[in-house]
């Protein structure tokens, strides 16, 4: 047996071990979510159908998906222009902005929730008690991760020269950001969006302590009464995140082929 063959075998075995490490729990979840209740034989999709048929669970799924969407939109709308502006016009403020964006990472979620509870009593008073008001808190929550993803993408392009070239050709600042900078940091924005979606779909502390019914809160409650259905919902949300990740990978690759990321 040559060393290179040995290395190949080691590589394959390693891959199989890691695949088993990740996929066995998922298969177990799938197995559990499709078992019939009690001692009945065979498989059932009833627990998966429960996500659609149960109104509370369905509304919590819709709320979480909308929360993810609104969080991404607000995060991109706030963060991208701010980061581009700071990079181009006030580079001295970059350290300050970075510190502010990374701050939520250093403060435990519980502390933030306690801190914003009073603020949220005003928010719900003014905007209603829909779970969607969590968008504001979630934007803060995803800031550190989103900042890193967008900052890396901005560092990969010569934003200053591109914006100056566009301005010299007659573009205003809005056009510079929307038509020149954003298309060239798409991979960073998509990465930030993906992280935001993953965080929002899995966030429990904020929603639970502020008494909003989101998917994780509903799953936790459901787990006490219907474990397999909760398992199906958990697996479904993981599959959604995985599909987003794969989609992001292919989208980034396509854009790279077009030259957008070059």
């Amino acid at each position: 047996m040559t060393p290179s063959t040995g290395f190949k075998v080691f590589r394959v075995v390693g891959l199989l071990v890691f695949a088993a490490y990740f996929f066995v729990p998922l298969l177990a979840m799938f197995d559990f979510s499709t078992q019939r209740r009690g001692s009945a034989e065979g498989r059932t999709w009833d627990n998966w159908a429960f996500m659609v048929t149960d109104e509370d669970l369905r509304s919590s799924i819709v709320a979480s998906l909308l929360l993810a969407l609104f969080t991404v939109v607000l995060m991109v709308a706030l963060l991208v222009p701010t980061m581009v502006w700071v990079r181009l016009r006030v580079p001295r403020a970059r350290g300050l902005i970075e510190s502010l964006c990374l701050l939520p990472l250093t403060i435990p979620a519980l502390v933030i929730v306690v801190g914003i509870t009073n603020v949220y009593s005003w928010v719900t008073y003014l905007l209603g008690d829909s779970a969607l008001v969590l968008t504001f808190a979630y934007v803060v929550l995803v800031l550190p991760y989103s900042y890193r993803a967008i900052d890396a993408a901005l560092s990969a392009i010569d934003a200053a020269t591109l914006s100056e070239a566009a301005r010299s050709l007659g573009a205003g600042w809005f056009t510079v950001i929307a038509r020149i900078i954003m298309p060239n940091i798409t991979s960073g924005i998509l990465g930030a969006a993906f992280i935001a979606v993953a965080l929002v779909l899995g966030e429990y502390v904020f929603a639970s302590l502020l008494h909003f019914d989101t998917l994780p809160v509903a799953m936790a409650a459901l787990y006490k009464s219907n474990g397999p259905a909760a398992m199906a919902a958990a697996l479904a949300s993981m599959i959604l995140v995985a599909v987003l990740l794969v989609g992001l990978t292919f989208l980034s690759r396509d854009r790279h082929k077009q030259g957008a990321s070059s």
Binding site: I157, D158, L162, E164, A165, R167, S168, G170, N184, R255
Partner: protein, 349 residues
Amino acid sequence: MTDLRTERGLAVELSDLTRVYGQVRALDGLTLDIEPGELVALLGPSGCGKTTALRILAGLDTATSGRVSVGGKDLTRVPASKRDMGMVFQAYSLFPHMTVADNVAFGLKMRGRDGAARRARAGDMLDLVGLAEHADRYAHQLSGGQQQRVALARALAIEPSVLLLDEPLSALDAKVRVQLRDEIRRVQIEVGTTTLFVTHDQEEALAVADRVGVMNAGRLEQVAPPAELYSAPASQFVGEFVGLSNRLPAQVTGDTAAVLGRDVPVLPGSTTGAGRALVRPEAVSVVADPDGPATVATVMFLGPLSRVTCRLSDGTDVVAQLASTEALRLRPGDSVRLEVAPEPVLVIA
């Protein structure tokens, strides 16, 4: 192809421009007039303020004081996007997510021109720079020289009142640089746009410009046609920065100076009494003479020309530039006599 000449070459006036960054005066009272259709090169060492001047003219930087005027119109407070100037940058600046044709048409889109007009103009501009067949490519599929040619086409597509070139050749290799330099000049003459070309490469500046401005420490030392700048430098800095110069002992008396035993006229601005004359290598001739006061130190072959370094008895090195056929007859250690051509020289203290 449509007529590419813009007829829009406008006079540019930079009046007493000053730019201060903290404790640093990047520009110190720069005044420069550029005639319509003229190509002026700003030449100087790094940090002399030439790029700052260009950026202030483009509207990408703001002068601390002074005035920018184009075609008699005061543009000092007008933003870059409203100045109607085309610019080619030192760094590659094509928009990576757009094709070459879309890059060239971008400025026209910003001006609200319809799709057909944009495509036609972009095609004409790409023809002008010889890249029509690359219209559908992306920036990363082009070489550096091609990218800069597209950037030139993009800058000219908007029929700018002024074309600004910020060291557009410095990222290119030597051969491409010379080709593109000549192409820039050809295109500029063809379209007739008033142009400001910033460079630290004196050969580039002397080759393409109608006039060259030499800058030092934020100030314009001299603006003159290349030949005049070379043969009649107005200051020690210009004399030493542009081309090679020998610093030979000289004695100024009236309008002449005695240099290597010969009286030559002196340029305005020269010192009086004893000093050092700035003498170009091509103004020095070397004559083989067994009794000569100098010896040949080195002979450097440069193709059709050679550079011969001779040492005077006081240790001063004198560089002469000779035809290679003449220079290769000399050997290190030969005794020679040096003669200076009777051309005006600048004598410095």
